[in-house]
Subunit: 347 residues, 2 copies
């Protein structure tokens, strides 16, 4: 199965898919240098919050090996510098979280330097495995709503490429695909302007032998009307305690159209996606550079001076969402109390 | 104002915009050769049923001049050959209709050859003018529903470039824009896969100084929710007597999303678009080559072997349509009787 990042035990190296080359070429970066991992994060050869968290963790393990330190203090000095090096994207909390976690483990260890290095290798792998388990858990919970033979429509990329291995929506699809002997199909929506559906989702599901059909964003009404789709499963960048879901632009239009056709609309996201603070009215949607719309593959598709509006995300209200599939279980929305309860459990 | 095709009285030539170069370059073809006009139709330098009808009519006028015939019989022989030459796209009824009309006029004329040539020049111009008047009429009727300050969302290109001058949706926008002193705005939806909104609609409204914003197909829900749009006006490839509208893929999704936001959804089309024969269940939607989705500007945007589904049109049921703006007046739908009545009037 397709894996975004992994630790190679034999050579003590990190191997990751170069996402800047996808989908036309599948190239891997294999490195024993934490600086090379830092570069991969910086230039987005690896992206997606869980994936770069794992990359930073494994990068710290590489640094521990590279340090060749003889004393714990020397090792810690080297690791602290490596943590700074690996934090190349300031807004990505997963980077700081992962490097801090690795540092704490090193500081707390009472063993010799060689043992601490081994502990760090184990911890780096563990960060990745936790993400894999979380996704697996989401996929297993989803089996209560995804039936054999389902055709699932999704938008953007909430697959392996944003996580370590299975993805969020990716886990829902893959776990069901395995459970039902391959009897699961996917419709991937292109997702203009950045086309993550066409570039990434189609690619990674095809890699895993899952029957995947690409459609454009405007075709969703037609495929619903023709009875081609059994349910929608989309990811989430943020879920408010009210059940409002912020996700890639196009999600809201899809949810409205699904509701019109009485097609179940699920959101797959770990509980850590839930934001207990912000109110729907206070959500600010990022507006991105208009050239994302005007230019494709380096060429203008419209008049270069065209005025564009390019919101990167949209907000779907709970009344359009059938349920949220989390790593802790299925939450029907609107169900503020249930979100609060589950959230309390993991606090 | 922007004009797709026109007759130059001074030089007795036809001038048309080369649509294959749009929107990155505005080049015109100016010719006195009916064979060159035939080529323009064939390679789609000019396209859209009303526009190619006018091109064929003017092509016949050019042929009459080119013939240098001394007798009416010689002229008719030349014109019959020219009609065959101009009929380069077999399914385009407007071509046959226009060339036949020109031939009938020549056959019926009792004047000398020189006079017949002048009559044909007049008739070719008249075919174009009839289209302009029909569009103008649509635009005037629309004033009863389009108010000053309206922001109008449209999909695909139902503008000048598909007709001789104003367009269908184009007329609604332009007549209101003129009437309200420029106080009309447009949101053009990109319209994947072929991006006619981005390539053509944006271009021609910008040419006329109309404030136009480009968005992608997935953004419609967001712009509705944000209150940016006052109404939608879309074209139609065919309108059934039941009020079902067949139009560019994405129209149906837009209509559902507009209904959800209680935004008026108008269809602008001449009465000649109404098909009194076909039932909704019998409509076959053309499925086009998947490379329209896979390739943009000559480059793959996805895995080349990706399976795609590419319906070119969709069907919007009457309950999602506020009214149809025709050249004969506004028809509220569902209102089968009204469609029948108006249709009877023009039979």
């Amino acid at each position: 199965m397709f894996r975004t990042i992994e630790w190679l035990d034999d050579t003590r190296e990190v191997k990751l898919v170069d996402q800047t080359k996808l989908p036309l070429a599948t190239k891997h970066i294999v490195t024993s240098s934490h600086e090379r991992v830092a570069k991969s994060i910086k230039i987005m050869e690896i992206r997606g919050a869980p994936a770069i968290g794992a990359a930073a963790g494994m990068g710290m393990a590489l640094a521990a090996i590279e340090s060749k330190a003889k004393t714990k203090n020397n090792l810690l000095d080297f690791l602290r510098k490596a943590a700074v090096t690996l934090n190349t994207r300031p807004t990505a909390v997963n980077l700081t979280w992962a490097t801090t976690r690795m540092l704490r483990v090193a500081e707390a260890a009472e063993d010799g330097v060689d043992q601490i290095v081994e502990i760090l290798v184990g911890e780096g792998k563990e960060i990745a495995e936790e993400d894999v388990r979380m996704c697996q858990s989401m996929g297993k919970h989803a089996l209560s709503v995804i039936e054999s033979g389902f055709v699932i429509q999704t938008i953007c990329n909430a697959g392996s490429l944003a996580t370590v291995h299975l993805g969020t929506v990716g886990a829902v699809v893959r776990v069901a695909h395995e459970k039902y002997g391959g009897n699961i199909e996917v419709y991937a929506v292109e997702t203009r302007p950045r086309q993550q559906g066409a570039r990434l989702t189609v690619f990674e599901f095809m890699e895993d032998g899952i029957d995947t059909t690409l459609i454009t964003d405007g075709m969703i009404g037609t495929v619903f009307r023709e009875g081609r789709i059994d349910c929608c499963v989309v990811g989430a960048d943020r879920i408010l305690k009210t059940g409002h879901v912020i996700n890639k632009i196009g999600t809201y239009t899809m949810a409205i159209t699904a509701k019109f056709h009485k097609i179940p609309f699920y959101v797959a996201a770990p509980m850590s996606t839930i934001d207990m603070e912000t109110n729907p009215a206070d959500v600010v949607i990022e507006e991105r550079d208009g050239d994302e719309i005007r230019i494709i593959n380096g060429k203008y598709i419209t008049v270069p001076t065209t005025k564009v509006y390019n919101p990167a995300f949209d907000m779907t209200p709970p009344e359009l969402i059938t349920a949220i599939i989390t790593d802790k279980g299925i939450v029907e929305v609107p169900n503020k109390r249930k979100i609060l309860e589950i959230h309390k459990k993991i606090d």
